[in-house]
Every structure is written in C-alpha cells, then in structure tokens.
Symmetry: C2
C-alpha cells in the first residue's frame, strides 16, 4: 500500500528518540572500548557512557532524515558515526573543562568528574584520546563512509572543535570571568563555545543525508538559533534548578563570576529570549521546505522544555 493510501503516519518522538538512543548507546559502547593500553579506555568510557542527553547525536540523526539520499543504509552508517563523533568531542570538552585548572568541578551527570575518579593525568589523556577517536570514527577502514563525505565530516568537526569554534569559545569564557560583557559579546562567546558544535551536528547530519544547498541554508539557521537558545536555557537552569535535578553543581556561574544571559538581561527577559530563539529555529525548518523535519521540530521543543 502506498503512503497516499495509508495516510502520513503520526510522528512519535518518544519512540523515535528511544530508537536513535539505542543505536547511539550501542555504537558508543562498541567504539569506545575498555580494551586499551594501561586501562585508558576506562576513563574514556566513564566520560562517554551512561550519561548525557545526547542532544548532539540526536540532532545529527534528525538532520540526516531530512535529506533524500541515494542509499539510506549508507546514510544511516555515516550518520551514526557522525553522531558518535560529535558526542565524543562534547564528552572530551567536558572532561577537560571540569579539570582543576579550568572550572574545577567535581560533579557531572550526577557522578564524580573524570579527574576526581581517575586522577588529573588520566583525565587529560582520556580527553585527548577521545578527540582523536572522534576523527577516527569518521574514516573507517572499510570505506563505510564514502571518502568525499568522510573528508567533509572531518572538516566540519575539526572547524567546530578548534580555535575558531569550541576551543576558542572556551578561551573567551576563561578570559571573561569577572568582566561585564555586552549581549553581542556574550552571544559571540557562546556561538563558539557551544553553538559551533551544535550547529555542526545539524550540518554534519545534513551532509550524511545528502541535503541540497538550499536546504542547508535553513538548517544552518535552525542550528544557530537552537544553539543560542540552548545556552540561554542553560543559564536559566543554573539559576532556577537545584544540583540534584541538574546532575552538576548548580549556581556555579554566579560563584565563578561568569557573565550569563540571566545576569545580563534578568530572568524573565532571558526566558522570553529563549522562547523567541526557538520560534526562529522552528520558522527556519518551515521555510526550508524539507521533508521529515518532525524530529528537528521536536528537538527544539525539547531544548525549550528541558529541566537539566
């Protein structure tokens, strides 16, 4: 029976998420192995498995679905690898960010941070090895990711993770402690620190799905607005949530004298701003004209409603 006769099936986001998370958790667990020199795989697995909302992998997989690829099986393999690669970059950045010379945080996802559990040297090396593994996942020896796509994914990930992306944003963050930033300065910092990798997640997924150039423009806008909204919500949660709900130390932005959207705008304005950014993200999806954007829509809702 054709889709026209059966009607468009209702999209079940919970079911979709459960299926995608099952795939991602299984892939991460098989690719980040315990079998390793001097047990370095243990802190790597501790940093990556059984924790996290997996927002970035879900963005990759959701964006991949909006394309019309020649070979859906190839797309799924590439998108799963890209999903895990962005998560490894995110996980390594948390490990390094929590270290005493950075944020000096002892709690992450409700567990002791990696350097508390394994020592600083192991945390440093595990983070370094996770970054290398992220790139390794994108270029499998069996050619399961076509070389042209693999090279593109490596480029997108390296740019998002590097000095003009996440690492640069963290440098601004460090240099901004105790300073009063303007809103454009704060947004620039976050567009690099968290925005670059969130946007890369969307665009890497789109690359795996073979989304056309006209679609990419809108997905890029979606990723940009969603990324900023994510950070505004993060700043709000740091103020309104308690440590247990958050799974990491609450109130640490104020304690570290870090500029936030809440300290800059006040809580009600920050809440309105987050909502407006998410509306813009949804509008970009609608304007794209791309099919199968349900999951990306639902992920925007998730970012708006998250409690941790």
């Amino acid at each position: 029976m054709s889709a026209a006769l059966t009607g468009t099936p209702v999209f079940d986001f919970n079911q979709w998420t459960a299926r995608q998370l099952g795939r991602v958790e299984m892939a991460l667990s098989s690719w980040v192995t315990a079998d390793s020199p001097a047990d370095l795989g243990h802190p790597m697995r501790y940093a990556v498995l059984d924790g996290g909302k997996r927002l970035r992998p879900l963005l990759v997989l959701a964006a991949a679905e909006t394309g019309s690829p020649a070979n859906p099986t190839d797309t799924l393999e590439a998108a799963t690898r890209a999903a895990c690669a962005v998560e490894l970059i995110h996980a390594y950045s948390l490990v390094h960010d929590d270290m005493p010379c950075m944020d000096n945080d002892v709690l992450r996802r409700g567990k002791p941070t990696v350097h508390v559990q394994f020592g600083e040297a192991q945390a440093l090396l595990a983070g370094d090895a996770l970054q290398a593994l992220a790139f390794e996942l994108l270029v499998p020896e069996d050619g399961a990711v076509p070389p042209m796509l693999a090279a593109q994914l490596c480029r997108q990930l390296a740019q998002a993770a590097g000095v003009h992306g996440m690492a640069g944003g963290q440098a601004i963050d460090l240099a901004s402690v105790g300073l009063q930033l303007t809103q454009p300065q704060l947004e620039h910092m976050h567009s690099l620190k968290t925005g670059a990798l969130l946007q890369a997640s969307v665009l890497m997924g789109a690359a795996c799905g073979g989304v056309t150039a006209s679609g990419l423009v809108h997905l890029s806008a979606y990723g940009q607005h969603l990324g900023l909204a994510f950070q505004v919500v993060d700043d709000i949660l740091d103020v309104v949530a308690d440590t247990q709900t958050l799974g990491k130390t609450a109130g640490k932005d104020a304690e570290h004298e870090k500029p936030t959207f809440v300290s800059l705008m006040g809580l009600p304005a920050a809440q309105s701003y987050a909502a407006a950014l998410l509306d813009q993200a949804r509008a970009a999806l609608t304007a794209s004209g791309l099919p199968r954007t349900h999951a990306l829509h639902a992920l925007a809702d998730l970012v708006g409603g998250r409690t941790h």
Copy 2:
C-alpha cells in the same frame, strides 16, 4: 639535457633539509594564526613555531619523495599539509605532557613551557585546539588534497594519536613510573608513545607520494626501527647531555623514576642497540627498491648522531 647525460646529481642533505624546513616553517606560521578568540592563537604559536627539530615533518616529506605520483604538485601540497599535521599533534602532546599533572616540566626547547608562560588553562586549550587544527589541515575546503587521500591521512593520524597510539603510550608511561619494565614492555610503551607518530609520518608521506603496497611494507619497517632507535637515543641523551644542550631538563627520567633503555641495558648496550636499529632501518630502505631514498637514509643518520 637528460638525466642520463648529466649523471645523477649528488644528494645534498643540508640543502634538502633547508628547503623542506623553509617550506614547513612558512606553512606552520601561516596556518597557526595569531588572529584568534581571546588570543588562544598565541600559546598555539608559541608551542609550535621557532623550535623543534621537525623530524616528523622531514620524515613525511622524505617519504613522499620515494613515490611516483601522477601529479607532483598535488603531492607536495598534500605532503606539506601532512607534515604540518603530524607536527601539530607532536606539539600538542608536548604541551599537555609538560603540564603539572603530567611531567610537570618548566623548560622545553630552551624556553619556559606553555603552561609556565600562559597558564595551565591556556595550555590545556591550546593543546586541544592544536589537535583539532591538525585534522583540519588535512581536509582543505578547496579540495587541494583529494578526498580519498584526505580520508586516509585522517585515519592514519587519528590512529597514531589516539588510545592505541600516542595517548595510550603516554598512559602506559604514567602507569610505569617506579616499576621495573622488561625490554619488551618498554619497547611496547615506546612503540605507542613516540613510535606510532614517527611511523605514521613515514606512511602518511608515502600515501601522499603514491608509494605502492610493496614499497609500503619496507617503509613501515623503516619507520618502526627508526622510531625505536629515536627513543633509545633519547634515553641515552637524557643521561649524557646537559640541560643547555638538550634544551629541556636533563636527567629527568632518573629523577621521575622512569624506566629507560639505559637503566635497563646500561649505557654501552643501549648505544649498540640504537646503532643496530638504525642499521635495520637503512636495510629496509635498501630492500624496498624504492627510488629517491637518500633523504630517508640521511634522516636515519641524523637520528643516530643527534645531540639534542
């Protein structure tokens, strides 16, 4: 006039090295830019420029010359990028390795180490950003490295840098402090910690040059023997050289109770072992039957005769 009439020109290693180093230093300086968020480019440049023997880049460029590529201009572009990429990985590993939670070293290449000069947080981030940049160099947007080759180079670099390469070797190194290792254990540690990236340098260069599979087997053996010899010589220098000649703190292996080839075998046996390994490296070149191996031969001599 044909080469047959003029005769084979005598290979001038000093001239060759000067030309290659000129290319590498210029490329590194242009790719590791000061223009960066929160001046993160400054510790990155400090870590990379004006220092180091550039052994890894020279190995890449020397190995690339042994191939018979369809397009020598493309080869040179790819090999220059690969040469800089391996050097960035090497440089980031030194930055992280020198940090207080690792070797806690204050002197490197005759200068204060990065964390002493810029602080620990900047050192951590600069190292992270250098690793990302290494991969970025291999996948330029203009397609200057063909995608098939770019994907292969990313794979080789990621494997050499990661948990089953350099990072894993450093984990073994950390776990071995104060232990009495056997010679096979010590060799395994070094084959990962320094050997993997040295061997990858040779094989990435060979990939750029389009060396055939039969040639690769011998170049792989060359890289393996050279890599181990490099470490044996390093252990010897730590005992016999002074800090000024070395440009880094001498005698630190003994101070840190690290197992070395000298502590295991004694000085004379370690010196003989280094010489024997270099002979094996040279024999592999001869057995390869590859053309233009002069530079790789000369680099083996350099490793044997180096004073720092």
